[in-house]
Amino acid sequence: MRSDEQPVSAFGTQAAVPNRPGAGLKAEHVADILQSHPDIGFFEVHAENYMGSGGRPHQQLTAIRDIYPLSLHGVGLSIGGENPLNKDHLARLAELNKRYEPGLFSEHLAWSTHETTYYNDLLPVPYDQATLIRVCDHIDEVQDVMGRQMLLENPSTYIAYAQSTFSELDFLIEITRRTGCGLLLDVNNVYVSCTNQEQSPAAYLDEFPMQYVGEIHLGGHAPDMDEAGRPLLIDAHDRAVDDAVWALYKDVIGMHGALPTLIEWDNDVPAWPVLLREADAAQEILRRAENADLKAVS
């Protein structure tokens, strides 16, 4: 390529995801969105929903991508798995990355496939040396094949591994240090995991390496109890963001400034205006943090 030839984007809008709220894209909302062009920063899709060869899903995503920046979020790569990564699956991710030019790409600190079985859940990994080495190898491979940095999402957990020798934070920090990947901070996952592990979410967030964070997730959780009667929160993505999670988010943004912020609502999906209102609530927090910054400067 000659130096005066710029790579041409197939889309009518920029790739970069702004420091604004976005929403998880649901097929049932697409017509509404394309008709009303809501003022929202970006959309995020689960990569696996767009791994068919063609048809309506790709036609819709192309139309959305023409108007909004996109964040590509994988849920099935099994980065924490004991087996090598599924090369075909990684190739499909790379293909989507090329086709839709997403501003962000993220996956999870979790496993979902072992041998020939895909469990369709984000299962927890032990925080030990052997897992650290494997996860880092897998992230190196992902970033090589996709030719870009990925963001790794902190998990929601219901159990811990007795064999773990790292704290979750130390484990995440060590991964970013070794691989150069960024982090996706899911504040709801922090609240869910810390409650389930009897730790302080605020203390966890105080220690979180915010310099690596490229995106924030917010979602709803369902309350339950374990056998011993202790609170057990389920990362269900089936309702509005909890007040306690909003409060933690406000603190994070107040301390560290604005970041792309996704509202996740994957089950019992509401009408589009309800989801947009959640995004607007995040926008309000981002705006206030920005105003406070401006005042501090002047």
Partner: protein
């Protein structure tokens, strides 16, 4: 330090086995904040796995779900999931064995049409996600001398499929999935082999005459028009190639002419 070496190391294999087989109990090494196993905590994962896979099946097979009712379908889906877990993280490819599982499920022996209905739904989903492709423009046939037409082979459009059946599978899907028509008007003695097509983005289902289904099946597997017409004539002496071909062409079932013989 002896205690350190005594820590149970929980492998993905044991974790995964315990997910699918609740009778194995909570695996050692998966613990709550007190360091002790807690079955309700581990059951969150079990539930996520089983329920999400059952839901995926329900989304692929909504007619079967409507015909059997939510409760029966949930139990049936659990039985299927216990035997068949996905091997691929792309769930639009999960559940291909569900139709034959239904066909072989003894309590449903009295409803032999369920298997074919499920085949239609599987084919519908694959058509919905198939590769985009222009349909064949019949004008191109004008360049072929009529005497050579019998030797022509077509390429199937990637979204086109035939589901053969002795049952009224389209009526069953139309009423129960698309809420179009009345259950009481379905005549179980009517055979409805169907052609599924997706010329652009919307899947269409067309009921075929049995001889047209036979013809299409042959064309899709690489037979020449002449060979396909012969098999169709065997089951219906009134079969005419021109009518049948024009039916397939106008429905967008064909993508182009095959330039060489299939291997």
């Amino acid at each position: 330090m002896a205690q350190v070496f005594a820590l149970p190391r929980l492998s993905a294999a044991d974790f995964g086995d315990a997910l699918i087989n609740p009778e194995l109990g909570t695996p050692e090494g998966a613990v709550g904040p007190d360091g002790l196993p807690d079955v309700k905590r581990f059951n969150v994962y079990r539930n996520n796995v089983i329920v999400s896979l059952c839901e995926a099946l329900g989304e692929t097979y909504p007619t079967i779900k409507a015909l059997l009712g939510d409760e029966y379908f949930a139990a049936l889906a659990r039985a299927f999931v216990a035997e068949h877990q996905p091997s691929n993280p792309v769930l639009i490819w999960y559940g291909e064995e569900f139709p034959s599982f239904l066909g072989a499920f003894p309590p449903l022996k009295a409803y032999p049409y369920l298997e074919d209905v499920a085949r239609l739904e599987w084919a519908w989903l694959q058509s919905y996600h198939a590769k985009d492709c222009e349909v064949f423009d019949p004008a191109a046939l004008a360049t072929i001398p009529p005497t050579d037409l019998g030797g022509v082979r077509f390429q199937r459009h990637p979204a086109a499929t035939i589901v053969a059946s002795e049952w009224p599978i389209w009526d069953l899907v139309k009423v129960n999935r698309f809420k179009d028509g009345e259950q009481s008007q379905i005549d179980l003695s009517v055979a409805q082999p169907v052609l599924i097509v997706r010329p652009e983005f919307d899947v269409d289902v067309r009921v075929l005459e049995p001889s047209h289904a036979t013809f299409g099946g042959a064309v899709f597997s690489g037979a020449t028009l002449g060979e396909a017409a012969e098999t169709a004539l065997e089951i219906d002496s009134g079969f005419t190639l021109a009518d049948c071909l024009s039916n397939f062409l106008s429905n967008g079932a064909l993508a182009g002419l095959q330039t060489k013989e299939p291997a």
